[in-house]
């Protein structure tokens, strides 16, 4: 296929940035989206006129959460349930024009080209994304507390969030509620995490607000774009936990 690519170029965090147009021939439908970007970069390097396009990626199998492109107006592009690295060119047609931009949100400043800074997500977790047990291994036997399979499965589902930030990028308010609620739920659904549940939700929400993420107005766009299908139930659960924690105080 032949493609026209309109790609966001920005030299560094302070540069204003602009869209530039590139054309690429001979794109195979079996390529992944990032392999298509590799081919474009190889072309730019061979021409030697401008720097290749910087983008974040690592695992290239949808699990590390590093890749983060806004493709034709959607985080991770048109396919559902996948990250940018899992998107394949067979989802596009010969002659298409594709717009490629970084994730946009106040909490995610652009570093360069398509690379953004998502360290706000880490800071939210420093505030409470853990269970306070020592790492000595001298805990009780793993089977001492049975956990109902349904709870374990739900905690697992919440814990599959890869921290990519597509939920924030898809939200008109740039809210981080889906991400934070997945983290809160993962712990609060398990007996081991219940003990600190109140403190956790209060601290994490406070940090989330400090980072400049917007409010949740229940549009649900986040869950639609989430590559891991993190459910809106988590937001409801976090709201309940938060309410409980603020009413009872600590």
């Amino acid at each position: 296929m032949k493609l026209t690519l309109k790609i966001w170029r920005q030299k560094n965090a302070t540069d204003k940035g602009a869209i530039k147009t590139y054309t690429l021939d001979n794109v195979s439908e079996h390529m992944s989206f990032l392999e298509m970007m590799d081919v474009l970069n190889e072309q730019l390097i061979t021409e030697g006129k401008e720097e290749p396009i910087a983008f974040d990626h690592d695992c290239r199998e949808g699990i590390c959460g590093m890749c983060s492109m806004h493709i034709n107006g959607e985080p991770h592009g048109p396919d559902r349930g996948v990250t940018t690295c899992q998107l394949h060119m067979r989802k596009f047609n010969d002659g298409d024009t594709i717009y490629i931009e970084p994730f946009r949100a106040k909490g995610f400043p652009v570093v360069k080209d398509l690379v953004v800074d998502r360290s706000a997500f880490d800071r939210i977790q420093h505030a409470g994304g853990f269970i306070s047990v020592p790492t000595s291994g001298n805990t009780q036997d793993a089977n001492a507390t049975p956990v109902p399979k349904a709870d374990a499965d739900k905690a697992f589902d919440a814990a599959t969030c890869i921290g990519c930030g597509a939920c924030v990028a898809s939200c008109k308010n740039a809210s981080a509620m889906l991400f934070v609620s997945a983290k809160v739920s993962q712990f609060s659904l398990l007996p081991q995490g219940k003990v600190e549940a109140k403190r956790r939700v209060l601290n994490m929400v406070e940090q989330m607000d400090k980072e400049g993420f917007g409010n949740c107005t229940n549009t649900g766009a986040c869950s639609v774009e989430c590559p891991k299908g993190i459910s809106l139930e988590n937001i409801a659960r976090m709201n309940r936990e938060y309410l409980k924690a603020t009413i009872s105080g600590e």
Partner: protein, 671 residues
């Protein structure tokens, strides 16, 4: 050549670790506050080490090149983690896990280390559950297990196909707790580019902030390298794109010996390659071999028919299929260890039975599992007359519950539905058993410099069993290093902070700067990737699944040529003081090229076959084991630990003799 001392404690194997812990020096809590430790890497090994050391009271500085510690490559591990819990009551024990691991490693690992690994394995599971790791459970609420290749018990704990992710999030959460308390200072988007030695001891590192490009000096009383494996020396592997050898290689060049570089695991079940643009290969977890059956057509005419599209694999009758693993290895069947399964696939494909266009693919088929599970489910539901369709649907649901995310991953990449048609798979580079040489305390040959996780060499011998890398990473980080490092640091309680305004730090920084500037100013014509791909091709064709003297010698010459041309003609666009992924890659590929040569030299020197290292000259010639790998215990029951001499083509070898007191050396048989 010298003989290396691994510092294995005295006494019976089952008491060694306990005795050692009782005897080693401790640092009191007040003094720990005066001691800094650098941890390079935040995967399972580095993340768990950083969290534990910080919790004990040391000041930890942790480094990773990704934008968050949670994205370390451990996140991608799928299948599971072993532990000798014997929850299934199937006869498992610490001894059996130890035995399986040593046998699986083809008797080329260090007994004492492996025993300790098996011993602490049970703590890992307790620890992770306490941290909130959501392992798979049964309906009664207890933990579930599955079995993995090369063993006869079910000892693998898992979280669907995302075990690595869940374990890493556990270690990351333990880190978060310490970062929140200020005990760990985290440096994400930082790449370690050299080790700094003062008076012969590891005292710091030079790291590049990859966003600003600034070079930074960081000092500490000890340095832990937990930077993962070097499978990307093959360019194509199941590793993440950024996985690299740089941290390990830099300490090697400063005096740390590199052990058994040629021991590589080629994993049997990966999605076959498709085109030249391919950037990485994707693993389909070994857990799939619990339920999937591997086969190729029995007759070449069917292979042709499948290739030209006139026949579908599902149309072949049972009689027309060759379930070659079940045929050759009736005792273990589809669950033979990885090296054995990979070679068997290669053997069939080399004989012309590969089922895709490139001739490099075999089938992994779930049809019988789907039918079996469907029937079980129908019985449970009381549906005595369930139709074939209904049974299939029920069975597919069960399979989806077990492997859903893997099946989805497969479908996204290949555009084929593995519930309806068998998966196509082929071996790919996956893991490196070789790595930095360490003694029993995980210390390298540089005092104060440690190596943990996939970056070291110690526990897996010449072949790693499934689900044991996660175990080793967490054992090293949570339960071994925190003890053994104290023994060394006890000597440092009066040292005080290590200054960085010294000639040692300045020289190291200037060296790094000169190296990077040379890349930027090189004015070459070819991209970094073009060299990396060339190196990968040589490695795969001549230093891959089967190796021989002629090929290895050619490889060594070709790699030398690539190295010379790389330094002459590589083109690195952009500048140094800005985010510059091409510069990062250039520095890594330059190290891969040097490693590649050592790797081939090591493979050439080891004239036996063992585990993942198969020398064509050393195979069983007749008898029931005909064609299987043939070890040479008389001449090769040792670790080859290589010393850097300044010339990549002239490394010097040292040996650590391997003695087996608790396990009898045998021909590994899975028949």
């Amino acid at each position: 050549m010298s003989v290396l001392d691994a510092k294995i404690p005295e006494g019976p194997i089952k008491d060694k670790w306990t005795n050692h812990k009782n005897k080693i020096n401790l640092v009191n809590p007040a003094n720990k506050r005066l001691i800094d430790v650098i941890v390079v890497g935040t995967g399972l090994a580095g993340g768990s080490a950083a969290a534990s050391l910080a919790e004990m009271g040391y000041n930890v500085k942790a480094f990773c090149f990704q934008d968050s510690p949670r994205r370390a490559h451990s996140i991608a591990a799928q299948g599971g983690i072993n532990a000798a819990k014997n929850y299934q009551n199937d006869g498992d024990s610490v001894y059996r896990l130890f035995y399986d691991t040593v046998k699986g490693g083809d008797y080329r690992s260090r007994e004492a280390n492996v025993y300790r690994l098996a011993e602490v394995s049970t703590n890992i599971i307790d620890q992770c559950v306490a941290q909130g790791v959501p392992f798979a459970r049964e309906y009664g609420g207890l933990l579930d297990n599955r079995s993995f290749g090369g063993v006869l018990v079910s000892r693998t704990f898992y979280a669907k196909g995302q075990t690595g992710q869940q374990l890493l999030l556990g270690a990351y959460s333990a880190m978060n707790r310490q970062i929140g308390k200020g005990k760990i200072k985290m440096y994400s988007r930082h790449e370690m580019l050299d080790l700094v030695k003062v008076d012969g001891k590891a005292r710091g590192i030079i790291a590049r902030n990859t966003v600003t490009g600034e070079l930074e000096k960081h000092s500490a009383h000890a340095v832990v390298i937990a930077s993962g494996g070097y499978g990307n020396v093959f360019f194509l592997s199941t590793n993440a794109m950024g996985s690299n050898v740089t941290a390990a290689w830099k300490i090697h060049k400063k005096g740390a010996y590199f052990a058994n570089p040629c021991y590589t695991q080629i994993h049997p079940t990966c999605i076959p390659r498709s085109g030249d643009y391919q950037s990485k290969l994707t693993l389909m977890s070994e857990s799939l071999r619990n339920d999937g059956r591997i086969w190729v057509p029995k007759h070449l005419k069917d292979v042709e028919a499948i290739k030209n599209g006139t026949k579908k694999p599902t149309e072949l009758s049972e009689d027309e299929r060759d379930y070659y693993l079940e045929r050759r290895y009736p005792a273990f069947g589809n669950l033979v260890p990885r090296d054995v399964a990979s070679r068997a696939a290669k053997e069939r494909c080399d004989a012309g039975f590969g089922v895709n266009e490139t001739g490099e693919a075999v089938y992994l088929d779930f049809a019988s599992a789907i039918e079996r599970y469907g029937k079980e489910k129908a019985t449970i539901l009381g549906e005595v007359d369930a139709s074939t369709e209904r049974i299939k649907a029920l069975g597919e649901k069960v399979v989806e519950n077990k492997y859903g995310n893997l099946f989805q991953m497969y479908e996204k990449i290949t555009d084929e539905n593995p519930y309806k048609t068998p998966m196509q798979i082929y071996p790919a580079v996956h893991y490196t058993m070789g790595g930095v040489w360490v003694d029993y305390n995980l210390m390298t040959t540089i005092p104060g410099c440690y190596a943990a996780g996939e970056a070291n060499f110690s526990d897996h011998g010449a072949n790693r069993l499934g689900a044991s890398a996660l175990m080793q990473g967490l054992a090293d980080g949570y339960f071994v290093l925190p003890y053994t490092i104290g023994d060394y640091l006890a000597g440092d309680i009066r040292t005080g902070p290590i200054p960085t305004d010294t000639p040692e730090f300045d020289d190291a920084l200037n060296d790094v700067k000169a190296r990077l500037e040379k890349f930027i100013n090189n004015n070459g014509t070819k991209s970094v990737d073009s060299f990396h791909k060339r190196l990968g091709k040589v490695m795969w064709n001549k230093v891959g699944m089967a190796r021989n003297e002629k090929g290895l010698k050619e490889a060594i010459d070709e790699i030398k040529e690539i190295r010379e041309e790389f330094h002459r003609d590589v083109y690195v666009p952009g500048d140094m003081y800005n985010l510059n992924p091409e510069l990062e890659k250039a520095s890594r590929v330059s190290d891969f090229i040097e490693l590649g040569e050592l790797f081939a030299n090591d493979a050439l020197e080891r004239m036996e076959s063992c585990g993942g290292h198969f020398r064509e000259e050393s195979a069983e010639e007749d008898g029931p084991q005909k064609g299987e790998a043939k070890r040479d215990d008389v001449n090769y029951a040792h670790v080859s630990a290589w010393e850097w001499t300044g010339d990549p083509s002239a490394p010097v070898m040292h040996k650590e003799k391997l003695t087996f007191n608790d396990i009898e050396l045998k021909q590994r048989s899975y028949k």
